[in-house]
C-alpha cells in the first residue's frame, strides 16, 4: 500500500506554466505540499483528483490505479475525499443534506466510517439542521471535512482548508486534523503555504516551486535542510519530537525528553509519557561560547555547529547538532564572525521559546 503520483500538465501550448511531479508516498500519514502561491500546489491536487483533463501521468492509490497510460477513472469513480479552500458546500442543501450527499453515494460495502463517528469527530451534531448560509468559516470547513470523510476515501486531499479562517478558528481545527491523521488510516495530502501549519500537522513535506517539486522527505529533516529545504527566512525553525518526562508541580514545568537532551516547558496539562511535537524557531535560538549564568532562559543546551548558511544580508542560519537532533539558530553575520562559528565548533544554544504543537 503506497501512493504513486507522477505526471505532467501543460494546459495549453501558449501557457508557459508546466507542472511536473513524481512522488512516492507512504500509505498513511499527512504529507504537506508547501510552496509560494502560484507554484502549482493546488493544480497538483487537481491532477490527482482527476479535475484536470490535460494531465498525463500515473495516479495509483494502494492497489487501485486511478490513472495510467491505459485507463483513466472518472473523478466520481475515485475513492477520494477533496476539501476545497472555499468548502464548496451546496447552498441548496442544509448541513445534513450536504453530508448525506456524500454518504448516499458511497456503496454500503465500501463504507469504512460510520455516520456517527464522523459527526462526533467533527462536532457536527448541533449543525445538522442549519442552512449552509448561516455557518461560520470554521463550521463550513468542518462540514466540508465531514462530507469528504463520509465517502470513506482511500485518499484525502485538503486544499488550504484553513487559509480563509482566523487564527483562533484555525487553532480550534488543528486538533481535529490531528485526530483525523492519527485515527483514520488514510493518506492525507495537505496543501498549505504556511510553514508553521505544515510543521504542526505533517509527517512528510513536499516542497514546490514554479511547477516543480524541489525537495521532499520527512518533515523533521526538511525543516532543517539547506536549500532547497526550509532552513531560511522568517519561518525557519526545527521540529523536535519528544516524550513528556518529569513534571515539576511547584513551578508547573514539564520536562520533554528528546534524542539529545531535555527541554523545560510550561506545563499546560501534559500527560507523563505522552508524545509531544515541539517547534523551535530559529529566531528564538541564540548562541554563546559559554553557558551564561544569571539568565532567565531555562533551556541552554550544548551543541555542535554543523554549518552556517547565508540567509539575508544581515543574518545567517546556523545548523546545530544536539545529540541526534538538528536545531536552527538565526544570528547576525557579525555575531557569526565574532563567535568564529564554523563546522565542528562547540557552542551553547540558548532557547528562548518553545512552542508545543
Amino acid at each position: 500500500m503506497s501512493l504513486k503520483l507522477q505526471g505532467t500538465l501543460q494546459r495549453s501550448k501558449a501557457s508557459d506554466f508546466r507542472l511536473a511531479f513524481d512522488l512516492d508516498l507512504p500509505a498513511t500519514g499527512l504529507t504537506a505540499i508547501c510552496g509560494p502561491s502560484g507554484c502549482g500546489k493546488t493544480t497538483l491536487l487537481r491532477c490527482v483528483a482527476g479535475l484536470e483533463s490535460d494531465f498525463q501521468g500515473t495516479v495509483r492509490v494502494g492497489p487501485c490505479v486511478w490513472q495510467d497510460a491505459v485507463t483513466t477513472l472518472h473523478l466520481h469513480q475515485r475513492a477520494l475525499g477533496y476539501v476545497f479552500q472555499s468548502g464548496e458546500l451546496f447552498a441548496h442543501l442544509n448541513v445534513a443534506g450536504n453530508l448525506r450527499f456524500a454518504w448516499d453515494r458511497t456503496p454500503v460495502d465500501r463504507r469504512r466510517v460510520t455516520w456517527d463517528e464522523v459527526v462526533e469527530l467533527l462536532g457536527l451534531a448541533a449543525l445538522l439542521e442549519r442552512g449552509t448560509g448561516t455557518l461560520s468559516g470554521g463550521e463550513r470547513q468542518r462540514v466540508a471535512l465531514g462530507r469528504a470523510l463520509l465517502k470513506s476515501p482511500d485518499l484525502l486531499v485538503l486544499d488550504e482548508p484553513l487559509t480563509a479562517l482566523d487564527r483562533s478558528t484555525r487553532r480550534a481545527i488543528y486538533p481535529l486534523l490531528e485526530r483525523l491523521r492519527d485515527e483514520f488510516a488514510i493518506p492525507i495530502l495537505y496543501v498549505t503555504h504556511v510553514v508553521d501549519e505544515a510543521a504542526r500537522l505533517a509527517d512528510r513535506l513536499v516542497l514546490m516551486e514554479n511547477g516543480q517539486v524541489t525537495n521532499q522527505g520527512p518533515l523533521v529533516e526538511l525543516l532543517t535542510a539547506p536549500e532547497p529545504g526550509l532552513a531560511h527566512g522568517e519561518d525557519a525553525g526545527a521540529v523536535v519530537t519528544a516524550t513528556v518526562g518529569q513534571i515539576d508541580d511547584e513551578f508547573h514545568l514539564a520536562s520533554l525528553e528528546f534524542a539529545g537532551g531535555q527541554l523545560l516547558v510550561s506545563d499546560r496539562g501534559l500527560a507523563k509519557g505522552a508524545k509531544a511535537r515541539v517547534r523551535i524557531h530559529a529566531r528564538d535560538v541564540s548562541l554563546a561560547l559559554a553557558p551564561s549564568a544569571g539568565t532567565s532562559i531555562l533551556n541552554i543546551l550544548p551543541a555542535e555547529v554543523i554549518d552556517v548558511l547565508p540567509d539575508d544580508q544581515a543574518r545567517v542560519v546556523v545548523r546545530l547538532r544536539i545529540g541526534e537532533t538538528i536545531l536552527l539558530a538565526s544570528v547576525t553575520g557579525r555575531s557569526a564572525q565574532t563567535l568564529e562559528l564554523k563546522p565542528g565548533k562547540s557552542v551553547w544554544a540558548q532557547i528562548k521559546s518553545v512552542a508545543i504543537l
Binding site: 466520481h76 477533496y82 464548496e88 451546496f90 447552498a91 441548496h92 456524500a102 448560509g133 469528504a148 465517502k151
Partner: protein
C-alpha cells in the same frame, strides 16, 4: 363592458400559446443554456449571437422568413405535405414555432446565466463526492440554478403574450386558431372600438407587470439569501 366570445377566444388562445411555447422553450433552453454556460469551444460566441438575434431583429423579418420556410412552397411546408400533413403556416403549431424562436433569448439567457452563477466549483465538489455527470446536473446544477429557470419561464411567458409581428406574418388572423390578443387589440383599434381595446390592452399591461414583478421579487429574495 364585457369581453365577447371572440375576445375570450383570443385571450384563451394567447394563454395557451404562451404556455405551450414556454414549455417547449424550457425543454430546448435547458440543454442549450447548459451548453453555452459550460462549453469552451471557440464557436460558442457565434451560437450566443444567433440565440440573441430575435432581440434585435424586427419581428416581421423573423415572421417573413418563417412564412417562407413553413408555407406551402417552403421546404418545411413541402415536407409536411409529403408526409401527409398540412403546411404549418396559419396553424397553431406554426404559431408555437414562431413564438419559440421569437422568445428564445428571453429563456436561454437567464438559464445560461443561472448555470454560470452556479459555476464549476459545486459541480467539481459533487464529482469528488461520487456524483456522476447526470447526477451532478439534476441534483446540483438544476436546483442551484432554479432562480434562472424561474426568470426564464416568466420572461418567456410574458414575452410570448405580447408578440404581434411574427404572429401576424405566419399566423394571420383566424379566430380561434391564430387570432391572439395583440391582433384582436389591433382589430379593435382599426374599427375604432376603443373601449374593447382599452379593456384588453389594460389587462395585458397589468398581467405583464405582475409577471415581471414576480421575477424581480424572486431575484431580490434570492440575492438576499445567497450573499
Amino acid at each position: 363592458m364585457m369581453l365577447n366570445a371572440q375576445d375570450l377566444a383570443a385571450l384563451w388562445l394567447t394563454l395557451k400559446l404562451a404556455l405551450v411555447s414556454t414549455l417547449v422553450l424550457l425543454v430546448i433552453g435547458t440543454p442549450l443554456g447548459w451548453w453555452l454556460a459550460m462549453t469552451r469551444r471557440r464557436f460558442r460566441p457565434a451560437i450566443d449571437a444567433l440565440v440573441s438575434l430575435p432581440l434585435v431583429l424586427p419581428p416581421t423579418v423573423l415572421g417573413f422568413y418563417l412564412l417562407l420556410l413553413l408555407g406551402p412552397r417552403g421546404p418545411v411546408g413541402q415536407m409536411m405535405t409529403a408526409l401527409g400533413g398540412q403546411p404549418l403556416a396559419f396553424t397553431f403549431a406554426g404559431l408555437v414555432i414562431g413564438s419559440v424562436i421569437y422568445s428564445l433569448p428571453f429563456v436561454v439567457q437567464p438559464i445560461r446565466d443561472g448555470f454560470l452563477t452556479v459555476g464549476r466549483g459545486p459541480l467539481e465538489a459533487a464529482a469528488t463526492l461520487g456524483a456522476s455527470p447526470r447526477d451532478r446536473f439534476f441534483k446540483v446544477a438544476l436546483p442551484l440554478a432554479q432562480r434562472g429557470f424561474l426568470t426564464a419561464a416568466t420572461l418567456g411567458f410574458a414575452h410570448t403574450l405580447g408578440e404581434f409581428g411574427v404572429v401576424l406574418m405566419i399566423g394571420g388572423n383566424i379566430p380561434g386558431e391564430t387570432r391572439v390578443l395583440s391582433i384582436a387589440i389591433y382589430d379593435h383599434v382599426e374599427t375604432l372600438a376603443y373601449g374593447r381595446a382599452h379593456l384588453m390592452s389594460g389587462g395585458l399591461l397589468v398581467l405583464s407587470f405582475a409577471l415581471l414583478l414576480v421575477v424581480h421579487l424572486v431575484n431580490r429574495r434570492y440575492s438576499g439569501v445567497r450573499t
